[in-house]
């Protein structure tokens, strides 16, 4: 494996480890808690992240912006029918898929240009964006959990 791919994997692993720590004591009822009606929920963030792992990352790796994984529901993000257990299982599966896909990737593939929402950039740039989403949304989950505990006077 090239140093570049090894580093991308290490970055992803750091993100997954942080996410695991942030959500280890998460309870079902916290999934839909909001600080105010306009705020986002942890359910939305986790399902969005899972969707990125199952759908956004493969689009980048395949270089196909229109790719849709077979059987992936259109109403996945924010779906209130999903239990925390299901959401966590989907996230875990998404993580495994990502890590496995990275193992197969070559530096030549990373350098291939994609013309997408940030314009023409190497596939690597879009992949880094997708992986940094783990850290980005983990930060948001930590913010919501911190806010909830402060508002409820738990800490």
């Amino acid at each position: 494996m090239s140093g570049k791919i090894e580093a991308i994997k290490a970055f992803a692993q750091v993100g997954f480890d942080r996410l695991e720590r942030a959500t280890k004591d998460l309870k079902e009822e916290q999934l839909d808690w909001k600080s105010c009606p306009q705020a986002n929920t942890i359910r939305w963030l986790l399902t969005h992240l899972s969707s990125e792992l199952h759908s956004f990352v493969p689009k980048i790796l395949k270089g196909d912006k229109g790719y849709k994984p077979e059987g992936w529901p259109d109403d996945y993000i924010g779906n209130k029918a999903y239990t925390l257990k299901k959401i966590n299982a989907d996230l875990d599966e998404g993580k495994k898929k990502l890590m496995k896909s990275l193992d197969k990737l070559t530096e030549e593939e990373l350098a291939v240009e994609m013309d997408w929402f940030y314009g023409k950039r190497p596939k690597e740039a879009y992949l880094m964006l997708a992986i940094s989403e783990i850290h980005h949304h983990e930060g948001q989950i930590a913010a919501i959990l911190g806010l909830e505990s402060r508002m409820k006077g738990v800490t």
Binding site: G3, A39, N40, M128, S132, H136, H137, A142, L147, M151
Partner: protein, 152 residues
Amino acid sequence: MSEKASILKEYAEYVYERFGRTVEGLTEEEMRWKPTEASNNIEWILNHMARLSNLSLPRIIKGDPEFSPEGWPDDYRDQHHSLSKMLKDIEAGKKMVLEGVGKLTSAQLEEEISLWRGTRKRKVGLFAYLGELVHHNGQIAYVRGTYKRLNE
């Protein structure tokens, strides 16, 4: 530049680029807004990010746990700073980080340094703190998203 250093530098560039997009159009008023009295505002997060960029990351790069840029105030954390000052400070930290990371050799990246009450490889510390910047970037996006929806 070593291959590993070039990867980390590229990553750091990406992290700061993402940060730039997140704070685009941010105002002083929005920066000081809190979702609740008990919450952190963006001002607090930016202050923290300025310290991560000017203290934490350069300390790991240099392997000097006491490093502080010349003129950096000891009470930076406790002071209120304007938005433009903190963005300028983060920009200065970014330059220091990118330059410093770019000069690291493969051996230096693998070197064990004092970190978190123990020793860790320098590259581990760099990844963790760059990840911390993205983590806080996410928090800014969360607060901005809430603020935007409240004011729509």
